[in-house]
Symmetry: C2
Subunit: 320 residues, 2 copies
């Protein structure tokens, strides 16, 4: 298997041990819960997490201005409720905890179970569920993908501003009405625990609408030039987004070189210009990946002054 | 070809057009020379560059505290002397220009030709040639690889401190006595202009000592666990480096996911501990890549107070 790993059973533990060597802001408690060394003494705490394989999400965003804790499951596997509970208990300073959950059955079940357990112990806990992936027809079943990182940043900023837990939840829920993402791949990811690819693609094929766990897309076709690919993805996005003025994130899937992500950026921006769509803020980089997948995703969200301020606010995370 | 590109002939131009959309600090002059919008008005200017395909090097380091210009050639191809000359003329404010050149025949020839041309026009120009890749036996022929990025940061810091051009050259030349790198790959890179891989590797093979242009390594063997790979690379490095206290850069080759780079970090640090070697500063990330190659390189350089201060100094480059 072409993976830079030791024992595949220790993938998560090894990864977090390595992270601690160069991310001096974080500690790991309970083996898999990444927390800030400098614990916040006031303001709502923001907790997220989920299966691993999406690095730098979520552990890389544990930092001043973003997350207070990331609960890390095994690769593409939800963390258990007891770990989420441990995170809540660790970060709660009395001002309550917001759980940012990507919409997958396991994550929702385990984070909500932890919420209930924490509430019986007297913690105030709110949840927001991110469902930004437009490739699923049924809105309630939409998966949480790269847009989740914008939620982390917005919620983290609001908490720094001493916004109450209830208000943060309200504002983030509001933001999510206009949060839409779609992704594509030219190479699937190889899952280190199995050595298998999430799906198989022919040498001349690409997959439109993939998920971040190697889920297949909505259609597959011959690989073509990036200008056409950009048009395809934007066509799908604007079946949902009605915005003419928005924040855009162009997200690499983990194995996509910077050079290609920049080429993607050029043609996405050109396609938007033809559509008379205005990008008020642009983020380009690897934010929410699928292991070594080669491809990219686009995320849009309506611009507003507070959100723009939040995204521009400093954070000690080197990954945002 | 599994590449997110449009016309392969426009790879470089498209990439720089894309970069400008999200790196608001830079401008592109003469089609391929990336310069700071906010031109420095005093202090030596630092110029680097070379073939493309190593992103974020070199254009991503054009920023306050690092480079004043990056001269970008086509993929894995040296830029021409006239472009280097244009860069020198653009950035020189009278305090002279340092050219940081990776040791490849084309780069050295073209940058030195530009130096001569600039000098006849009255510019003061110095050069430093980076030769950090230990896989070449003959020291003079050693290639410049990831260590070049540390040179950018050191030189950029010294220039900000108003160190004279001569002194910067002297200090950087001194630093290079202890600068050593070695790389490995589990997957070669695909060159977008040809659709070919730099070399072919079997499904169970890895290559030790690769170059950043898809050059083959010094030996090939069955892929093994990261602890063993880390030992191998460090064995090679410490045939050259005599340091017990150094700065370490663990560099992803472009297609390596963050998760694996963190696992690499754990086992490199464990191997160093067994050797009683002390890392005074650790950098982990994609700094000098080879397109979408999967693998990593290690770079060491002797610690000293000024170098550590330089590496810790702020820069507006989001890639360092």
């Amino acid at each position: 298997m072409k993976k830079l790993i030791n024992e595949k059973e220790n993938f998560l533990g090894d990864m977090l041990d390595g992270l601690k060597f160069h991310d001096k802001q974080v500690d790991v408690i309970e083996d898999t819960v990444v927390v800030r060394k400098k614990k916040k003494t006031k303001g709502a705490a923001i907790v997220s997490g989920g299966g691993s394989g999406h690095e730098p999400a979520h552990a890389g965003y544990v930092a001043q201005g973003m997350l207070d804790a990331a609960v890390c499951g095994e690769v593409f596997t939800s963390p258990t409720p007891d770990k989420v509970l441990a995170a809540i208990k660790h970060v709660d300073n009395g001002d309550g905890v917001l759980l940012v959950i990507k919409n997958y059955a396991g994550d929702v079940m385990n984070f909500e179970m932890a919420q209930e357990m924490a509430e019986t112990e007297g913690h105030k806990v709110a949840t927001v569920i991110v469902r930004d992936d437009v490739t699923i027809e049924n809105k309630e079943q939409r998966r949480g993908v790269a847009g989740t990182v914008l939620v982390h940043k917005y919620a983290g900023y609001l908490a720094e501003e001493n916004t109450s837990l209830d208000q943060i939840k309200e504002k983030v829920d509001e933001m999510m009405y206009s949060l839409y993402s779609i992704g594509m791949a030219v190479q699937p990811c190889m899952v280190p625990t199995t050595g298998d690819y999430g799906f198989d693609l022919g040498d001349d094929e690409m997959e439109i609408g993939i998920g971040i766990h190697g889920e297949k897309g909505i259609y597959r076709e011959k690989i073509t030039t990036v200008d056409v690919i950009a048009d395809r993805l934007l066509d799908e996005l604007f079946k949902h987004s009605e915005s003419d003025n928005f924040i855009l994130m162009i997200n690499g899937m983990g194995g996509t070189p910077d050079s290609e992500l920049n080429i993607v950026t050029k043609y996405v921006m050109a396609s938007l210009e033809k559509r008379n769509k205005k990008v008020s803020k642009l983020l380009v980089g690897d934010y929410m990946t699928a292991l070594d997948m080669q491809g990219f995703s686009l995320t849009v969200v309506d611009d507003n002054d507070e959100l723009t301020t939040a995204l521009n606010a400093p954070t000690e995370s080197k990954y945002f």
